[in-house]
Each structure stands twice: as structure tokens, then as C-alpha cells.
Homo-oligomer: 354 residues x 4
């Protein structure tokens, strides 16, 4: 209930602070008999890890996952999969300056207010480092869902917005550049812009688009647990996310019903897909696609004014090694959360008919 | 797990099809000792009910709620509050035309695929009629949260968008017009536009803005159950919703961190509120505000082509009495879901400290 | 979380006080496509209802269930099944004498202490009347589990204990007498004893034995949700239950492992069944059997001394129409709870393998 | 849902197989601000660990717990407490003889049937080694519940039954002997008997009595989550447990209501305590006490006949180092589960009143 568990049947519980001993998790409810490719898991972690390119934080963390249980003879056993990633590069000294003051638009202030005190080192539990555990579990979910294709990519950085629809892009190009934008020209512009922002000691926001293809018809539970409601919650739970829309999204509100309705083909597929692959909260077999808004990273290296615990004004500035823009490293996290939702709802969907 | 329950501690389970005997619910976990104003509950239901103005569906349903339990001597007892609303105006004949065919962008097709068959009368469980039960529970949640002020209003209908920020509006005017837009001039334009669309036998989408004020600091659980993640799920679970954003939302991605960061005042409040009252998933005492995108209603009265169960093309058109635009009646639903989330997270927050 | 929901996937939420408007519930997660025999549901309710014989309470309640939703064309639709049973025979006056005093070994005192006040009429939510809702849901679960045979019977009343093992009894005789003991001679003795106790204005306890046959291998989840742990919780949640044992139970502690171990036959069945059909928390295909201890009903008609809200001693005596022994009417409740557990665990078991 | 999580708000998820890399868990929902005495945690683990005396298994496992998160500056932070205990003494070779055959009354057969295959080394997930993780979490729960006194002790081994009521015993003597029976004379007899049984290569069952004192009034949720129902589930989830009774238990069924009812003193306490400290599922402030039946350990060192995967009869015998009687080492486990239930229900009870 304290909010560190995600999923109903395919259920991930994570633990760990950014500067504690380790982060990790327990994935419970993963069906028995899935062949696990551990290299593929580590590969996903590497996509998320710091230091992978010149436009992300230059911290060096190997982010090597150790599995404790639940996998035997190369296959999942149906028992909980416990795992941990040691924190090896934590420089707690980087954070002594924030021990007694509150960084604007961070969680420092609310943690102190809520719990009475906080592990102030690097954001502690509120650090995006926690998402590495999601990537581990998501990588296992992807292997369970091998017939579903899940892709995410960067579609906007600051004002630079990729106007092409995902169907007009070659998503295999996403990993070909450090921004993770599948349009090479736009990727170059975004990269240049991120570097410029970093030089200013500033940060900028962005949008990630997620796409899930070959999703079977029928995933999603009526009423409160609609598939897109759970996807939305999954995405909104990622650090720095401010918005979620699927299918026609916010643009769709301007349309009329006669134009927005997706007419059927005789096989049940639809001629258009404003629905975004979900109708009445249930997947209809068409592609599921959605956009996620990420705010600019709160840690800026520029000097700024803030308050300490007593409310006194203090001058400070960001230290340490931070991302100027969060979206490139968030792509694998979005894919992981998508996989976790689809794995969970696949299991739920096994129980709904005689 | 079948998706008809919302909340962790303040927990609503709903039941009922639009054309069955009754809809209703059980509200469990409502604390003991809350004085319940039953008229206020019915008042909220009346704000949602059909036939209340010329721009909404002309169905007549009294939507009178009967409470079965959990209230004694005018106060909640701490035991589950069971309630039902009889369906009195169902004209099942209105739906015989869709028994064997699938309305585009409705849930007909996916329900048949998922469950093997469906209660085809009026959408059954997928009908927005279900939300009346949420309004009942939300009205009780509001009484529990009496010190928090929850307001929702229509901020966009089709292209007509209210550019004013909620702080520049007099929210007490929301109920002064059938659109539920607190800007009288914009309300007039929206009303005229909805009537025009209705004349065409068509429908149009819209946006509702929600605002919660005087929310105590500390609501929201770290990581997966961030306050805005749960709010997002709550809103995305409402029929026809396609998107959710809070605080700076999708616009915020264009900003730089130095501008987007909310600088502190000495009392812990912030000079700006791009965070939308939530930092790190936890309320910080500032106003919580968010936007919700609603697609155009799928039932259009114009003739259209669709398929039957065998995949044959059939000509049909919408019958019955439908809303040309869903947002005016959705305002109390948005408020109800907001109240349910805040009530639940208020209870959760009682358990987090020694 | 307030304790009115049972089950993970096949999930019953009940509501209602004994002297409120109605009791009832919502059964969520019942798979679609089950043909529902409504007479069979009412039949189970009739087995539990007051006034059915001379050895139970003489209150007259028709206990007629009304279904609101979730059943269409005679089959479950996969949506929540809402239902209610009106309270028609409540004589609240019978309870005015306990408004301000506390009956010994009832829940009056603890409810007042926990919630600050209580619905004092007939025990309110703590009345065993609540179990009628369980019987409704259990009757549906039985229809879902049609290949599993669930039987409960009275095996002890006071000192009168049926020494025969369930395998040496003809369980079809259970309903042939008002005690619901399948041994006719013992049933006669028990009936006579209950009548004697009633004449004294007193009450007596008893034991019910439950048996589930043809349970598939594999039901039960490792560690915390072992099948017998959930069965135990289910039974201990029934009013007046003080103990639960399965298989060899408390007697088994005296045995040595070499004698207690159930040796295998070549088909995986076992030569003995001290395990009670469950090993490591998982059903092994053998009969599941268990005993449940019920304390003597707390409401005695004899005069007794107790305290009022201020702690003053008051003289009072039981009024109204009460059961001298709870076990005959509890037999269908035990069967219902068994069915709910097995239905839930059958659904869970669909999700555990690739 | 896969059964590896216990608790609603104070919530433990465990992972790990007996012969995998490590066992451990995540304790989520532990309130912030509890001072943690890590030595006290290790002390509880030592009470459970193998090799501690001559009447338990002679395996040597240091059972040293490593905490990963959730504790900072010696206090809980309100974030999840992740921990692990490395498996250091696993001798997998001890188990090669059971790879393809099924030990009677173990979980080998049902795991293979349920999941399709199993980690056969030492029982894997079904090993009682898992309970070490419960002891860790229970030790933290005890520190949270510092004002409640929780004691368990051995009250029966085979036929040797301590007839004294817990109130007539000096519970501080429990740890003075390897059996953990607070009656020195009975402890001596039990110890001698266990040694005799071990010499025979056999095993024997036993009973543990649990007592919780100074429990506040009001813990327990009505209907399905009665305090004793959750306690019962907690205990029944411990390996080898076959029965649970509280208060008057199975003996109470023989009593009449007039004798069994606990008459009030003027302060709300009761003159007798047949209720076992719980009425209507809610603690009434009196001592909570209960008995738990443990079957004889299934692993006997004597030779026996069993079947292999193909159903062929094979001759085998137990190898390795096993407990001749499980109850001495199960005492801290019973205390841990008691603490987990009371911690969880203490938090739940914070949410039930305005």
C-alpha cells in the first residue's frame, strides 16, 4: 500500500535509494517456464545506464544486476524473482549541500514534510535511479510477451517536435543515435539542442512516444482498470512525467465523432486508429500508441536561490553529474513499464471466461 | 481484479449495466463518524443526470439513489455503504439494432471478443451510466474531505478553448450555464457550437480542467502510487477520456528547467506552480490542477456503415437519445473521481509515520 | 482494506447490517459464460435461513435474493454480479435493551471502542446475518466449480462427537435431519441435546467437518497463500468460529513422520491422506477435509449481569429469537466459503505457467 | 497474487529458494521514524537458525542478514526495506537423489504438477528456509510494536503435552532450554523424547502456543479480515502447520454459552477470557492466545519407498541434516508472524474513524 508495488498478477515490488547499499526488486507472479536471456536483461539496463553517451549524465555506474532466485536451469520457476543492483558510484558528498536545504521542484521538501526526515543523498527513494529495477523486470516481461513488439522513441525535445506519425518512421533507427529519435535529421537537431542547453547549465523537457504492436484482442478490464488507465498510471509513475495521452489524445477533442470513429474492416480491424488500439478500455488488436510528457530535469547547474529547513533563503547551485534532458535514457523505462502492464493484463485476461 | 474496484483504503466497487435492473456500488473503508447530507449526494447525481438541459441527452432517468447500509443516525458507521440506483427509463428496443452488429469506436466488438458474448443493451457495463455510482461515492468522499475544495469545469469544446488560467476565472460561475464553463462568454459560444453539432447528428470532444485546493501537504505515495499517477488513472478510467496532464503538462516540455522550477517562498509555498501542486508524486500544499481530454461521443445519429458479427457490412445509424458532447455532464464525474483519490490517499497518509 | 472483501480474483464484497434496509454484495471476477440456476442459489439460502426447523431461531425472514447485474440470458457476463436481500423481519425493538449496554462475548463493546459508536440493532454488521451474502456468492461459485463436490456436515455438538471418519459416512444423508449430521442415530442425539439446551435458555457449541472432492491438482499458491491457509482464514472469518484444522490436524502432532507420511501409489495418489489433500499448500488431488470449531452462541436467554457504557453493572437477559446452537445453519456457510476459496484459487492457477 | 506477499499496509514480500543464491524480502509500508536495533534483528534470526542446539538440524548457516535500503541514520525512512540472506551452506548434492523422485508428504510432486518443473534442491521455494525472511521482518515489526509483548513457546511434543495454562507459566524461561518450553521439567522430557525419535531416524510433531499481551482495543476488521482469521492464515502459512485455534478453541465447543461468555468487569476487561482477547474479530484488550499444530517433519532418515516421475517404485532414504521436530525452531517464526499481523492491523486501525 506504500506504493512500491506495481501490477496485479505480474507484480513488481522495488526497493532502494540512490545512495544506499543497493536498489532492486522482487518480481512475483511471473509464470513458470519462460526461458530467460540474462544478456538481454543486462542490455536493457545498459540502455538506461548513466554515462552511455555525451548527452546524458557522466556518472559511471556499471548497473550490473544480480539475480537471487526464481530462475533455475535458465527458466523461470514461477517463484518470485529477487534481484539487486549494487550502488557503486554514489558520491554522497555531492549532496551534503542539500542536506539542510530544499531543491526547487524536487521531492526534498515534501519527503521531509511527509515522513519527518529523509535520506537526502541524491534524492534517496525519489531518485530516478529506482527505475533501473523497473527495467530489469520489464526485460523479463518482454521475454514473456515475445510475440508483442514494444517500441518507444523520443518524439520531442523542447520545441523540436517530430511531426511524423510513428507509422511513417523506421523504428529500427531509434538506437542509432544517442537521443533515441528514429528520424536521423531530427535526432541531430535534438542532440545539438541538448548540448546547447547543457552548456547553459540548464535542462529541457521532452516527449516519448510508445508503440505496442501485435497486442492480442481483449486485454484490459472494464471500468476502473481500463488498459489505457493502467498504462497511463504506469507512465505517470515515471519520474518527471507530466502528461499521458493515447490514440488521438488531446488533439482528438477537436474532432467530430463522425470523423473520429474508426470504421471497421470486415475482419474486425479498423480503417483508422484514432482509438489507439483500445476501445472501452480493452485492446482491439490495432496498434497501441501513446505520448508521454517529461518536464525539464529539476537539477540545474546554474546558481539559484532556495530555502533551508528553517525557511531562510540560501544561494546554491546543482552539483554532481546530471542529465540535461531525461528523455533519451527514459526510452527503455517507458518500454519496461509498457511490458509490465501488458504482461499483467495478459495474465488477468486468462481468468475472465469459463 | 476484474477492474470494478477503485481505491486502496477508501474503496469503491461498482456494479450494473445500463439496461439491467439497477446500477450501484459498495463504498468500503469510509471512516466512521462522518455526518452524511443525503441531499448533497442527490444534488451531485442531479448534476450528472440525463435530461438536465437542452444540450445533453434527453433521456429521463430520476437517478434516485437508495442506501442499504453503512449509515446510521445520520453518520457513517465505518461499515460498507451499499447503494443502488434503479434503471427506470431503459428502452431496450432502442438497441435491438446493435444486437448483432458493432458500433464503431464503441466497446461492442471487444466485449464480444473478450467474453464470448455481451449484454448488448445500451452498452451494458461499458455505458457511461456506470459513472453515476462513482458520483454517489464521490459525494460522500467530498463530505469526508470537507476542508478540501474540489472544482472541475469545461475548458474546451472542439476548437473552442478557454485560454484563461483557472486562477483568472470565477469558478463559482461554473454551474451558471449548461456547458459548465465558468467564463460566460465562452460558455455561450460553446453552447451554440454544441447545438450546431447536434443538429448535424454529430458529436464533438472537449477538455475538463480539475482543481483541488487546500490539499494538505504529504498526500501521495512514492514510486508507483504517486498522487498524479493515481489521479491520472482515475481520470483515464472515465468513459471517453483520451489524455491527462497536470501542472505544466505537455506545454511544460518546451520549457527549460531554470524557468520551470518552482522557487520557494520562505513558508515552503512556491512562487510559481508549474508542478501543479505535486512534487515527487506528493502534494506540496499548492493547488493541484489538471486537464482531461474527452473524445467526441462515438454514437452519432448520422447514418454510417459498420459490420455485423459475421463481418458483413451493414448500414445503420444511431438511435436513442445521446449526448452531442460529453463534457458538461462529465464535470461532476471528474470531481467525484478527484474526491475518491484524495480521500483514499488521505487515509493512506495516516499510516506512514510512527 | 476495511475487511469486507474476500478473494483475489473471484472476489466477493458484502455489505449490510442485520437491521438496516438490506444486506447484499458484489461478486466481481466471476468468469463469463457460466449458466446460472437461480433456484439453486435460493435453495442454498433456504438451507441457511432462520425458521427452517424447530432447533434453530424462529425468526421468519424470506431471505429472497434480488440480482441487479452481471447475469444476462441466463449466463454470467463477466461483469460484477450485484445483489441484495431485503431485511423484512427486523424487530429493532428487540434490541433497545442493548443500546446502552454490552452483551458479553458479543462485538458490542469492541465496536463502540473501535468506531466511537455502533448500529446497535441486532449486532449490526457483526450479526451472522451477513453470511447470507456469502451463501449467495458461494452458490454461484459452486456452479462454476461444477466438477468439484463440496460437502459439509455437523460432526460434533457439545460433547456429542461423531467418531466416524467422513469416508465411512453417507454424506447424502446430511440434509435428512435438522442437525445436518449424516449419521441418523447421532443426529437424533444431537437434536435432543440441542432442544434440552434451548429449554435451559442456554446455547452450546459444535464442530462442522468440510470435505471437497475431485479438486484438481495444483490449487494453492506457495508461501503465504497456501490453500489451507486461505481455507483457514475463510472459515475463521465465519461468526463464532474458534479453530480450524485440516488433514491430521491437532491429532497429527502425536504421530511420527514415518507413520504420518502419505506413501504414493504409482499414479501419484497416496495410500493414506493425513495431508488432507494439500501438500506444501497445494492440492494434490486427494480429498480435502477439515474441521471447524464453533463456540456456543453468545446470546443466552437466561438472565445475566453485564455493564453499560459507563461501566455500571446492569441486569439483563437475551430477548428475541436466537439459535441455541449455530452449527446446523452454518453448514451451507462452510460450503459457500469453501466454494469461494476453490473458485478463486482455480482462477489464480490459470496464471502460473507459460 | 502469486502468494509471496503478506499484509495489507505493513507488507512483506519474500523471495528465495533454499539452495539458490540468497533468500530475502522487501518490507514495504513500515512507518518512518522507528529506531532499528539491528542486533535485535540478528538475535531473532539466531533463534531460528540451524545448528543452534543438539536437537535441531546440524546444518551450519550463519544466516546473516544484509539490509539494502529503507533504514537511514538508524531509523526507518518509510521507504521499502530490502534485505537478503546469502545461502552459504547449501549442499546441492544432498538432493540429487530426489531430482527425479518425489518425497512423500513433501511439495515435490505438487510443484512438478503445478509448474511443469521445479528447483528440486532442498525443497526450493517450499523449504522452511524461507521463514528466515519472515523472522527479519517480524523483528522489525516487534520494534514498531514495542508496547505489545509477544511470546510463543512449545506446549506439546508428540504426546507430551504441557497442561498448564500460559498464565501459570514463567514465559521468561522459554529460552532457557533448547526445546523452548517454559516448564523446565516438561522441557527435559520433551528434549529426551526428541533425541529418542531422532535416533530412530524418525520425526515427531508438536504444538506451539502464542500469546500477545497489551494489545490495544480495536485491532481487527469486521467480516472477512477478523483479527483471528488473519492470525490463523498467518500461522497456517508456516511450513508443517495443520491447525490453529484461539481462546477456548476446539475445547470450547463442549461448553455452554452461559459458562463460555466472558463477563465484564466495570472497566471493560473481562472476568474470564475464553474469547482469547478477540470478540467479533476485534481485539478487546485482553490477552490474545492461540495454539498451532505442527505435523511431524516429512523428511525421515529411515529408508522408505516412493515413486519417481514415471510412477515407478523406488527405494530411498532421507539424506542431509534435518530437524527431528520442527517446533523448537518454529517459535521465533510464530512470534514473527504474530508481530506482522499486529503491525499491519495497527496501521489499518488508524484509518477507520474520522
Amino acid at each position: 500500500m506504500a506504493g512500491n508495488t506495481f501490477g496485479n498478477l505480474f507484480k513488481l515490488t522495488t526497493f532502494g535509494e540512490s545512495h544506499g547499499v543497493a536498489i532492486g526488486g522482487v518480481l512475483d507472479g511471473c509464470p513458470a517456464g519462460i526461458k530467460i536471456d540474462l544478456d538481454a536483461v543486462q542490455h536493457e539496463l545498459n540502455r538506461r545506464k548513466p554515462g552511455q553517451s555525451s548527452i546524458v549524465t557522466q556518472r559511471k555506474e556499471p548497473d550490473t544486476v544480480e539475480f537471487f532466485s526464481g530462475i533455475f536451469d535458465g527458466k523461470t520457476t514461477g517463484t518470485p524473482i529477487g534481484f539487486a543492483i549494487r550502488n557503486t558510484n554514489q558520491k554522497s558528498n555531492d549532496y551534503s549541500h542539500i542536506k539542510d536545504s530544499y531543491r526547487p521542484s524536487h521531492a526534498d521538501y515534501v519527503y521531509d514534510q511527509k515522513y519527518g526526515f529523509r535520506d537526502y543523498r541524491g534524492g534517496g527513494r525519489s531518485s530516478a535511479r529506482e527505475t533501473a529495477s523497473r527495467v530489469v523486470a520489464g526485460a523479463i516481461a518482454k521475454q514473456f510477451l515475445s510475440s508483442i513488439k514494444i517500441n518507444a522513441f523520443v518524439s520531442q525535445v523542447g520545441d523540436l517536435r517530430l511531426e511524423k506519425h510513428y507509422q511513417d518512421l523506421d523504428l529500427s533507427l531509434t538506437e542509432s543515435n544517442p537521443v533515441r529519435c528514429p528520424d536521423p535529421e531530427m535526432a541531430r537537431q535534438m542532440e545539438a539542442y541538448i548540448k546547447e542547453v547543457r552548456k547553459e547549465g540548464d535542462t529541457v523537457g521532452g516527449v516519448i512516444t510508445g508503440v505496442a504492436q501485435h497486442v492480442p484482442i481483449g486485454l484490459g478490464e472494464p471500468v476502473f482498470d481500463k488498459l489505457h488507465a493502467e498504462l497511463g498510471k504506469a507512465m505517470l509513475s515515471i519520474n518527471a512525467v507530466k502528461g499521458f495521452e493515447y490514440g488521438s489524445g488531446f488533439e482528438g477533442v477537436k474532432m467530430k465523432g463522425s470523423a473520429h470513429n474508426d470504421q471497421f474492416n470486415s475482419d474486425g480491424s479498423t480503417k483508422t486508429n484514432y482509438s489507439g488500439g483500445i476501445q472501452g478500455g480493452i485492446s482491439n488488436g490495432m496498434d497501441i500508441y501513446f505520448n508521454i510528457a517529461f518536464k525539464p530535469v529539476a537539477t540545474v547547474i546554474q546558481g539559484y536561490e532556495t530555502i533551508d529547513k528553517e525557511g531562510n533563503t540560501v544561494q546554491t547551485k546543482g552539483k554532481g553529474r546530471h542529465d540535461p534532458c531525461v528523455v533519451p535514457r527514459a526510452v527503455p523505462i517507458v518500454e519496461a513499464m509498457t511490458a509490465l502492464v501488458l504482461a499483467d493484463y495478459s495474465l488477468l485476461n486468462r481468468t475472465i471466461k469459463l
